[in-house]
């Protein structure tokens, strides 16, 4: 079977796809649509009390950052955080979580750059959760329940989980599969807009851009390579990633015009970080 993507396979030839995201924090309003779109798309359960944010399952989670100043100089910024699908050190596929799973229930795909999760193989040791510095992995501490007739809105594209297993954002991999099936059937390549995650699609502010970081025609490529064609999204800002210095090589890039937000993306707030490129002298 030929690679319809046209970018080779993992056996040392041309690199496969690297699906990733650019999230514009200046557009994000913290509305939470991405969070619930993901829940609705991926059969994420809900329990009566979800106020303990340490055991609530939100594959996509919107954090509220603060500049730490007192009233009236306080500023806040919302930051949506899906799974980073880390490439790991040297972007070689040794994501922090993939390296440590003892049952190979999570794996890095060189074809798509996506870190998968096999719910039926996971036996819930939670080592991957300890390894993930982004806390992007969630455990089913309870048996998920769908009271009344809520089972009826479950999608057949995503396995429904049982208790005792870990789950996380999959960059809506089932949408990739469906899109690829169609592209393969029609003997053509996948278009940029054919495979988009639920959160990207739902965001009413248009703050999320999703695509193949290895495909130079895709907007995420243009933005992360700071090309002029990406200017409409970049608008003079420098993309940054969370915890970049830990060499996890995450696939989610953020844009913010505020220095304190960029700083908050590091492991230590002491690091000097600039939101906007220094254009050397003039505005």
């Amino acid at each position: 079977m030929t690679e319809t993507q046209g970018h080779g396979n993992q056996e040392g030839h041309a690199p496969g796809s690297k699906f990733g995201m650019v999230i514009d924090l200046d557009k994000c309003t913290g509305c939470g649509a991405c969070m619930v779109a993901c829940m609705a798309e991926n059969n994420v359960p809900t329990k009566p009390d979800e106020t303990n944010k340490l055991d609530t399952i939100t594959w996509m989670r919107v954090f509220k950052l603060s500049n730490g100043k007192a009233f009236p100089d306080a500023e806040t910024c919302y930051l949506p955080r899906p799974c980073m699908h880390c490439g790991g050190k040297h972007d070689a596929g040794h994501s922090p979580c993939v390296s440590v799973c003892p049952a190979t229930a999570t794996d890095y795909s060189y074809k798509t750059g996506i870190v998968s999760q096999i719910y039926t193989r996971c036996f819930g040791c939670r080592y991957c959760m300890g390894a993930c510095p982004y806390h992007a992995r969630y455990f089913n501490w309870w048996d998920p329940k769908w009271p009344a007739d809520m089972k009826n809105y479950l999608s057949p594209d995503v396995s429904v989980r049982m208790r005792g297993v870990v789950e996380k954002c999959s960059f809506c991999f089932h949408r990739y599969q469906r899109a690829m099936d169609l592209a393969y059937y029609e003997e053509r390549e996948l278009e940029e807009n054919e495979y988009q995650t639920a959160c990207t699609q739902a965001c009413p502010a248009g703050a999320i851009t999703f695509g193949d970081l290895n495909n130079e025609d895709h907007m995420v490529y243009k933005v992360t390579h700071e090309e002029s064609e990406g200017d409409e999204i970049l608008r003079g800002r420098t993309p940054f990633r969370l915890l970049e210095e830990l060499e996890t090589n995450p696939k989610v890039y953020y844009l913010s015009g505020r220095d304190w937000v960029v700083k908050a993306g590091n492991a230590s707030v002491r690091e000097e970080a600039k939101a906007v490129k220094d254009t050397g002298g003039h505005h």
Partner: protein, 742 residues
């Protein structure tokens, strides 16, 4: 065999190896192990959704007035996901947190699945299922009985606003029946309607061309917190950020760092309730610096001279700072005043400035005094009816071309509504629902029956205790609710409505839109349960009552009434689901804006409670994640609510760190929040996003009934306050209340 070491080793090794090999060949242990793990992967209580053919169907979301075009993804006939539809004038692919989770309203535990009749006492929660025939007869017989006894005016009806075909059918019913008591709850948009009538002499709604404005002064309007058409606002905000040619500035004048304030270019913090005064102060600056649009003011306004005098003498920024600036330290007051002045100047100098009002998500009315001041700013800079980026008036829709209502002698006679007020509104008493509970409680035998159609007054009206007492006095309450909401618990009979996905619903022009846009929802799934569209129910009730009432409802069903109502728009609505009046031009000829001298501070709406007893002030906060209207949050929405607003079942209030310390509270401390109206147990969150002396209370929590996901969580803000009448209109314009935390 001798048992020496050699033999021992031989025997034990052979035995062990043989045993190991043997058990490997026996399938039993492998099978058992494998079976047990497979069983854990296929627990019978873990659902396996059925697969099927995927299809998409489009409709218009009717859960809020926003009017977004959405599509439902179906697997065979089962709906599994809601998504936004690309293109279209309202949302262009976007969808909000409520729209996305509509399926939980369809299938959730709070759904009312069949008509119900109360068994047991009110509030016991005991219901018995009845058929639709029984339900319709029960209601029509009761109403007929009351009319026959000359009690037609003792029947009331509460709808979800005035607009839309369903509300119009209920209004029509009340007219044919002969009762003046049709009510709905006024919002900030009603305040705008009243103001438009007063200042521009027009009957219409406010529209704002926000996408093209370049300097927006928002006086507490939660533009990104649910104001207007939420998705449209998010997209407008994104457009502002994308604008290369002109940097669009949003200045949020707000008591708290709401999400809108957080994303604004500048947050000017003020004391709550001083929006009008601050607007007047800005007017003062604009006039003093001669930056106002002389052409517009001279040719298209009246009353400027008196206004000018009031502004210049009463509203100097330094004077206003004394009441509006939240931190009274001299250096800060100076900085604040300078900021106010510079922003007013920038506003006036901008090409397309626009000033907006409507606290929070806009479902609470704003006083005319405040609106006068804010609209005056628009007048001063010429934004009213400006070509681009300005404020326009969308004229009230024509009455539907339905046949005239047939009235009998009883219906023809004049009857005063229960609610009276000193104020004046263009809808008479109808948009004064906030005054109804008091009116009922003050009277003996005010209302004998009440139809609640798409509203949830027990939740949405201020002073829940008063509302509950009023409901208790009404012997027959009919609810058309689709969810087991708060008012549902007081009802005697339920005729459950469809969810919009199962029904034909019209969505009138969303509030704040700059041109008329109509939406139509058509059924995309078969009704899941034994529910019926409210429009159909009222038609059937009318028909069952016979006589002139039946004659006033000549249609076969709700669909026919809808089609007739939509008139020339029907074809476009039927095929595309949306109708836009692209050629719309606002009425400008001869329209003059009237400045009112009595604006801003003089009529500042006072707060209840004495400062000594209640040293703090409650100010409500809205977010898009908490629905504050008739419809409560879905389970997924509640899941996204921060633990700084709700913790387990307790409301969390926002208190400035210094204030918390002053009263001996730490992060997470439990406290009693008491107002002159009620008290509640809450938790304290120490925040820098609110000024000292204030208590930020999230709105949208504290529902009773519903289900385990939504019900019984937190406290309803409306429980803690009571209505404060705007002297001009009689609307409830309470923007807070005094409180204490112990």
């Amino acid at each position: 065999m001798k048992l020496n070491r050699r033999n021992f080793l031989l025997v034990s090794t052979a035995g062990a190896a043989g045993g190991a090999v043997g058990s490997m060949f026996s399938p039993l242990s492998w099978k058992l192990m494998d079976d047990s793990s497979v069983w854990s992967q296929n627990w019978p209580w873990t659902p396996v959704p059925l697969d099927g053919e995927v299809s998409f169907e489009e409709t218009t979301c009717a859960l809020c007035p926003g009017g977004c075009r959405v599509k439902v993804r179906k697997v065979d006939s089962r709906p599994v996901k809601l998504e936004g539809v690309d293109g279209g004038p309202v949302n262009d692919g976007g969808i909000c947190i409520l729209g996305l989770t509509a399926l939980q309203l369809v299938y959730g535990p709070a759904r009312v699945r069949t008509p119900l009749k109360r068994a047991g006492k009110r509030g016991e929660g005991k219901w018995v299922e009845i058929t639709w025939d029984e339900a319709i007869s029960d209601v029509s017989e009761k109403l007929a009985e009351l009319k026959g006894a000359g009690q037609s005016k003792a029947v009331g009806c509460i709808t979800n606003g005035a607009k839309g075909v369903t509300s119009a059918l209920f209004a029509r019913f009340m007219e044919a029946y002969g009762s003046p008591n049709h009510y709905w709850q006024a919002t900030a948009w009603d305040s705008y309607e009243e103001n438009i009538q007063r200042t521009l002499g027009l009957n219409g709604s406010a529209g704002f061309d926000l996408e093209k404005a370049d300097y927006i002064l928002s006086f507490g309007a939660g533009l990104l917190d649910g104001w207007g058409s939420p998705v449209r606002m998010f997209q407008a905000h994104s457009k502002w950020r994308e604008n290369h040619d002109a940097h669009v500035t949003l200045v949020q004048i707000d008591a708290q760092l709401s999400n809108t304030a957080a994303k604004a270019d500048k947050w000017l913090p003020i004391n709550p309730g001083t929006e009008g005064a601050v607007a007047m102060a800005m007017a003062h600056v604009i006039i003093s610096k001669n930056l106002y649009d002389r052409g517009y003011v001279n040719w298209s306004t009246t009353g400027f001279r008196d206004f000018f005098r009031t502004v210049q003498t009463e509203y100097a920024p330094e004077k206003v700072a004394k009441i509006a600036c939240p931190v009274q330290k001299p250096e800060y007051v100076k900085k604040w005043t300078e900021e106010l002045e510079s922003r007013a100047i920038a506003f006036a100098k901008a090409e397309k400035p626009l000033a907006l009002a409507g606290k929070g998500n806009g479902d609470r009315p704003v006083s005319q005094a405040e609106l006068n001041a804010i609209q005056s700013l628009n007048a001063l800079v010429g934004s009213i009816n400006r070509e681009e980026g300005g404020m326009v008036v969308i004229p009230d829709a024509d009455k539907y071309p339905w046949p005239p209502v047939v009235l009998d002698a009883d219906a023809k006679g004049y009857k005063p509504a229960l609610v009276t007020t000193k104020g004046r509104t263009k809808y008479g008493a109808s948009n004064l629902l906030s005054n109804l509970p008091k009116a009922i409680n003050a009277q003996h035998g005010g209302l004998k029956a009440l139809l609640v159609a798409g509203a949830n007054p027990l939740y949405t009206l201020a002073d829940t205790e008063e509302t509950a007492a009023a409901l208790q006095k009404i012997e027959y309450i009919v609810s058309f609710a689709s969810q087991m909401d708060d008012t549902f618990t007081y009802a005697d009979i339920i005729l459950p409505d469809h969810i919009y996905l199962e029904s034909t619903v019209d969505v009138p022009t969303p509030p704040g839109f700059a041109k008329p846009v109509y939406g139509l929802a058509k059924p995309v799934i078969d009704p899941v349960y034994k529910t019926k569209a409210m429009g159909d129910s009222i038609i059937e009730i009318a028909k069952a009552m016979g006589g002139t009432i039946a004659e006033s409802f000549p249609w076969g069903g709700f669909g026919d009434a809808m089609e007739q109502a939509m008139n020339e728009k029907w074809n476009a609505l039927d095929s595309d689901g949306v109708y836009v009046n692209e050629d719309f031009q606002p009425e400008k000829e001869g329209i003059r804006f009237r400045f009112f001298a009595r604006a801003g501070m003089e009529d500042r709406i006072s707060l209840q409670g004495s400062v000594e007893k209640y040293p703090l002030v409650i100010t409500p906060c809205d977010t898009i994640r908490l629905s504050t209207g008739a419809l409560a949050d879905t389970p997924f929405m509640v899941k996204t609510v921060s633990d700084t607003k709700l913790k387990k079942r307790e409301l969390v209030v926002q208190v400035n760190t210094m204030t918390a310390q002053q009263y001996g509270f730490k992060e997470g401390s439990q406290a009693i929040l008491e107002t002159p109206v009620a008290k509640a147990t809450v938790l304290v969150h120490c925040s820098e996003e609110i000024a000292p002396g204030l208590v930020g209370v999230p709105r949208g929590l504290g529902h009773i009934a519903y289900d385990e996901f939504v019900g019984g969580k937190g406290t309803n803000y409306n429980t803690l306050i009571s209505p404060v009448q705007d002297p001009a209109t009689g609307f409830d314009v309470a923007w807070g209340i005094r409180a204490k935390l112990t």
